[in-house]
Structures are given as structure tokens and as C-alpha cells.
């Protein structure tokens, strides 16, 4: 076979994939009778435009949360741990951050630091719970971590509906956190500095994945549990440590949402936008390659804010974003899924 033939064979499937995705989006637009040109320009405007790039800032703000969640699950997935409970860890973090900031006395900066710490602790604890369920009680991580999403969602909902509710506001939400703890915005924009925390977490995850012994060991565990066990790696300890790191990052993302965006905990604010699930598919899109994860997280954030733009200009329901994301994952994941192995059906064995 000629080399040119080989290149053709590599490019053609991707071209077909793009064509399919484009055709499906086109069909959806046709279905709602949206003007095609306006939809496209609305999408681009909504994702990257706006006066003084206001919408681009919104995209960046959203990607701060999505990339953070993506980095969190990436560390678990690379270690072969099907932790799909990021949502619960995120909620635990957001709730802990808001409650700590409301309850703790002291200078705002100190309160902020303590609250972020509390958020990371809460996220890590919630992830560890799933790990303990798998290691010591035989509950597969895949279902254990997922089922744990629901209790914490309702616990958080209860906390802001009853004991810590801001009753006069009439909404199911906590009181505002002290104004001194609010994250500042970049000068001249409405983008808060929360994204810097995500960048720090991403930098940590990249260094951890690419150049630490610990990260290397967890990767071995992800590639072959038998091998990791045979060469004497402390598999249980690695599992729990990895989950704790994942959970802590998810908790941090919850804190960013509280201090940077909402300034309180609102019921459903971390669940409804599907940040955790978007983070998961952002990791799957690029086959868990660490350096590409922030890019794909930004991409999905842009799909979501772009869809909101399409709704404004062309009346396309913005939920189209979810459909587009799912379709992309379906088509692309089957091309890169070699990177992810669920041969044991994600049951995780007894590792």
C-alpha cells in the first residue's frame, strides 16, 4: 500500500465524522426552522464575541469550572478508576465552601482560605467514601461513585432550603458569603480570577501526570492492575490517594463557583449545568491525554455558551448544546477509545 493511501485512510474517517456531526446539527436546526446563517453567527458571537468580549469572558468563566472538573476526573480515569461521581464531589465542595464562609468569623482573606480548604476536604472525603465502598465493601466504583451523587445533592438542597436558607430572598439558596471573600474580577471585565485556580490545578495535574513517580504509578495501575500488583505497588493506597486528589480538585471547583460566580450556594447551581458530566466527556473526547484536556474543556464550554447565543439570535433551544456534545462524543470516542479500557466492564475488580 502506498503512503498516500495511508494518509488518506487516516484523514478520511475524521472528515466523515465531521460531516456526520455537521449533518446532525444541520438537521436539528432545520427541525426548529432556525435561519441557518443567523444561527451560526449567533453561535460564534455567543461563544467568543460580545461587547468588549463579554461573551468570550462568559465562555472562559464556564471553562474554569468545566476544565477543573475535567482535570479532576482525568486523574481518576488515568489511574483506571471509573469515578463518575465528580458531581457529588463538586456539590460537597460548593456546599462546604459556602457554609464555611458564612459560619467562620475572622478576616475575609483568612475565611476565604479556610473555606477553600474546607471545600477541597469535603470533595476529597466524598470521593474517598466511594473508594472505601469499593475497596472494603465490594461496591464497584462506577456505581458507588455515581449513586453517591444523589444523597449529597439532596443534603445540599436541604441545607439551603432549611437551616441555612436565605428566607427573605424567597429562593432556595443560602445567604450571601461575606463580600470580602468574593473573588476579584480581572480589570475591565466580568471574569473573576477563579480561572487562575483552575489553571493552577491543571498545571498540578500535568506535572503530576507527566513527571512524578506517584503519577506514573497510578498510570501503571490504570493500564494494568495485575502488573501494578505484581510489581508490588500499593494498589489500595494509590486508589485512595488518587480519589482524594480528584475529589479535592472537584471540591475546589465548587469553591470557585461559590466565591467567583454565585457568591452563595443556590440549590441546583452545580448540578443543572452538568459541569461534572461535561468535564467527563471533555476527558473522553481527547482520550485522556492530559495536555489536551484543558483545550477540550474550553471547546465544550464554547459549545454551551455558543448555543446560548444561538438561542438569543435564532431561537434555537440552547439544549442543543447537550445534543451536539453527546453526538461528538459518540463519533469521536469510538475513534480514540483505545486509550480507555473497560475490559472488566468498569467493575473495577477488587483492586
Amino acid at each position: 500500500m502506498a503512503a498516500a493511501n495511508g494518509i488518506g485512510r487516516a484523514v478520511l474517517p475524521w472528515a466523515l465524522t465531521l460531516l456526520w456531526i455537521g449533518a446532525i446539527v444541520f438537521a436539528l436546526l432545520l427541525f426548529v426552522g432556525a435561519p441557518f446563517g443567523e444561527a451560526i453567527s449567533g453561535f460564534l458571537q455567543g461563544a467568543f464575541g460580545g461587547r468588549r468580549h463579554a461573551y468570550l469572558m462568559a465562555t472562559l468563566s464556564r471553562s474554569a469550572l468545566i476544565v477543573g472538573m475535567a482535570v479532576s476526573v482525568m486523574l481518576s480515569f488515568r489511574a483506571g478508576l471509573f469515578n463518575i461521581g465528580g458531581e457529588g464531589q463538586l456539590v460537597a465542595g460548593g456546599l462546604a465552601a459556602a457554609l464555611a464562609a458564612i459560619l467562620l468569623p475572622g478576616p475575609p482573606l483568612l475565611v476565604l482560605v479556610a473555606a477553600i480548604f474546607a471545600a477541597m476536604l469535603a470533595g476529597a472525603a466524598w470521593a474517598l467514601l466511594a473508594g472505601v465502598l469499593q475497596l472494603y465493601m465490594g461496591v464497584p466504583l462506577l456505581v458507588g461513585s455515581l449513586l453517591l451523587n444523589y444523597p449529597i445533592r439532596y443534603i445540599a438542597s436541604y441545607m439551603v432550603a432549611h437551616p441555612f436558607r436565605d428566607v427573605p430572598s424567597g429562593m432556595v439558596q443560602s445567604h450571601l458569603v461575606p463580600q470580602g471573600t468574593w473573588l476579584a474580577s480581572f480589570p475591565g471585565t466580568r471574569l473573576d480570577v477563579g480561572i487562575l485556580f483552575t489553571l493552577a490545578a491543571t498545571a498540578f495535574a500535568l506535572v503530576y501526570s507527566y513527571s512524578t513517580v506517584h503519577g506514573y504509578h497510578t498510570r501503571l495501575n490504570g493500564l494494568s492492575k495485575e502488573f501494578a500488583r505484581t510489581v508490588g505497588l500499593p494498589v489500595r493506597k494509590l486508589t485512595l490517594q488518587t480519589l482524594a486528589i480528584s475529589g479535592a480538585i472537584a471540591g475546589l471547583v465548587g469553591a470557585i463557583a461559590v466565591f467567583g460566580i454565585h457568591h452563595r450556594y443556590i440549590d441546583g447551581m452545580l448540578v443543572q449545568p452538568l459541569y461534572a458530566w461535561t468535564g467527563i466527556i471533555a476527558v473522553l473526547l481527547v482520550g485522556m491525554v492530559p495536555w489536551a484536556v484543558p483545550l477540550s474543556g474550553f471547546f465544550f464550554a464554547a459549545v454551551q455558551t455558543g448555543a446560548a447565543g444561538m438561542e438569543r439570535t435564532a431561537g434555537v433551544p440552547k439544549e442543543i448544546a447537550l445534543v451536539i456534545q453527546a453526538v461528538i462524543i459518540l463519533f469521536v470516542a469510538s475513534r480514540v477509545s483505545g486509550a480507555l479500557s473497560s475490559k472488566d466492564g468498569g467493575r473495577g475488580g477488587d483492586a
Partner: protein, 304 residues
């Protein structure tokens, strides 16, 4: 608490909650036995619930609504098969994508077709009535439970022995089990395991679709965004716990459905709704822990 459990209206409400979990779990069992790791039951259920409302609204018949739900579930089964079996995508990835697709497509279509967000209810949605069984309803105790349910409940219960016999005796049932246990042997016998797995996925879609119809046009007469609310995941757990064997599955679904129903009932007792809402998930975790503890103990007993 005991009063509540003995309350006949509690018992009579259990089947309403059992049906969707049982139907989804039976579908999942087919996939499990065929060797397809399908954890997209949540998305299948949600799609079924939406399609049922769509069909019942436009046709005016709950039966056509249920058929639409089955068709939508089967279509989703085909999508799963295309990306998992034919294109070789990882089953967990495909499942996650299908769950998101279902959540996205149902809310998208809800707005595109009915121009509402959140929930759609309309008197034109034809719901299933209840079926009264003339002699059985007079039986004390069991009568009110077994009689006066939707037709989907009776179908779901009938499916348990049928699926059991099908897997144990029928040629296709044997092939499904062979696809799951030893695909090479099946291929050697001249049968393509993927074709068998495709059938299992499509049948799973049909069963989950019916389960969704129970949620939207039998229990209530409306569609609410994300109304499957984790029941598909509970069905996944039921399948994992039982290895996809129909009879054990039936009892697990009965248990989960009873807890679901109980959590609905205790809301009247002054317990905050958030705590009753989390009961099904906690119960599922408790059952998971208990069963694996019991299995570990039994394995130890066998070894000694």
C-alpha cells in the same frame, strides 16, 4: 412506621414504582447476558418517557404512546449498537454519551415541539387507566395490590417468567447467553455474536421504553425534564447484583420499588422532602454492601 408499611394504600402504590425499574432492569439483563455492558438504562428510560407523552398526545391513545416509547427505545438501542458494536466505542463511553444525548434531546424537543421548559402537561395526553381484575381484587390483602394497576405492570411481571424461559430454553435465548459467555464458541457455531448482541440491545430499548411509558403516561400524565431521576441507574445496580437472572432481578426490583414508594409516602410524616428523596439511593447502596458482604462470607464458608 409499621402502620405505614401495613397501610393498604402503600402496598397498592408499590407496583407503580416497581414497574419502571423492573422493565429497565429486564432490558439491562438481556444486555448483560449477551455480554454488552449497557449502563445507559437511565437515558433509555428518559427517552421512553418522552416518546410516550409525544405519542399519547398526538394519537390520543396510551397504547400508541407506549408503542412510540418502545420505538424510541429501540432506536436508541440501535444507536448504542452502531457505536459500541460496529464502530468499537467503549461501552462505558457510549453509555455516558447516550445518557447525555437522551437528557439533551428530550429537553430540546420539549421546547422545539411543545414550546415549554421544565414540564409539559396537557389534557390531550392520553394516559393508561387502571385494570381491575374481577376476582382477584376481592382477595383480602393481595387483591388491592394485584388489581387496579396499569396494564404495563402486568406486562412487566409477565416478562419475568417469559424472559427466564426464553433465556433457558429458546434458541435465541441460548445464543444470547452464548454471546455473553463464550462468543468464540457461538461464532464457531456459525452465528455472529454481534448480531445477537444487536437484538439484545434493541429488545432492551423496547423494554426500557415501556418502563419510561409507565413513568410518564401511567403514573402521571405529563413529562418533566429528567423525570427518570436515577431510576435507570438503580436498574443498572439491580442487573449487576443479580448477574441478569430474571427471578432474582424481580425481587430486587420489588425491593427497590417498595423503597421508592415508601419514600414517596413518608413525605406526609413531616420528614423533609430532601431526606425522603435520597432514600432510594441509600437503600440501593445498603443492598449493594449487604449482598457483597454476604457473598464474601459465603465464599469464605465454602473455602473452609
Amino acid at each position: 412506621m409499621l402502620d405505614l408499611l401495613l397501610d393498604p394504600s402503600f402496598a397498592a402504590s408499590v407496583p407503580r414504582f416497581v414497574t419502571p425499574i423492573l422493565l429497565a432492569a429486564l432490558g439491562g439483563a438481556l444486555c448483560e447476558r449477551a455480554g454488552v455492558f449497557n449502563i445507559a438504562l437511565e437515558g433509555f428510560l428518559l427517552t421512553g418517557a418522552f416518546a410516550a407523552v409525544l405519542g399519547a398526545y398526538f394519537s390520543g391513545s396510551p397504547y400508541l404512546g407506549a408503542l412510540a416509547a418502545m420505538a424510541a427505545g429501540m432506536a436508541l438501542g440501535l444507536v448504542f449498537a452502531e457505536f459500541n458494536l460496529r464502530r468499537g466505542g467503549d461501552s462505558i463511553v457510549v453509555s455516558i454519551a447516550i445518557n447525555l444525548l437522551a437528557a439533551g434531546l428530550t429537553t430540546f424537543l420539549l421546547r422545539a415541539i411543545f414550546d415549554v421548559t421544565g414540564a409539559f402537561s396537557d389534557p390531550a395526553i392520553a394516559g393508561f387507566g387502571t385494570v381491575r381484575l374481577p376476582f382477584i381484587e376481592a382477595v383480602p390483602g393481595l387483591g388491592p395490590i394485584l388489581s387496579g394497576q396499569s396494564v404495563l405492570f402486568y406486562i412487566s411481571v409477565a416478562c419475568v417468567p417469559l424472559l427466564h424461559l426464553f433465556l433457558a430454553r429458546h434458541r435465541l435465548g441460548l445464543r444470547i447467553r452464548a454471546a455473553g459467555e463464550n462468543a468464540e464458541a457461538l461464532r464457531a457455531g456459525g452465528v455472529n455474536p454481534r448480531g445477537v448482541q444487536l437484538l439484545a440491545l434493541v429488545a432492551c430499548g423496547a423494554l426500557c421504553g415501556l418502563g419510561g411509558a409507565q413513568l410518564s403516561i401511567a403514573n402521571v400524565n405529563l413529562f418533566v425534564e429528567n423525570m427518570s431521576a436515577g431510576r435507570g441507574w438503580i436498574a443498572v445496580v439491580a442487573v449487576l447484583l443479580t448477574g441478569g437472572r430474571p427471578w432474582p432481578l424481580f425481587f430486587i426490583a420489588l425491593l427497590f420499588g417498595a423503597v421508592d414508594s415508601l419514600s414517596f409516602r413518608v413525605q406526609g410524616l413531616g420528614l423533609a422532602q430532601q431526606f425522603t428523596d435520597m432514600m432510594p439511593y441509600l437503600a440501593t447502596l445498603i443492598v449493594l454492601v449487604t449482598l457483597s458482604w454476604w457473598r464474601a462470607k459465603r465464599a469464605k464458608g465454602d473455602a473452609s
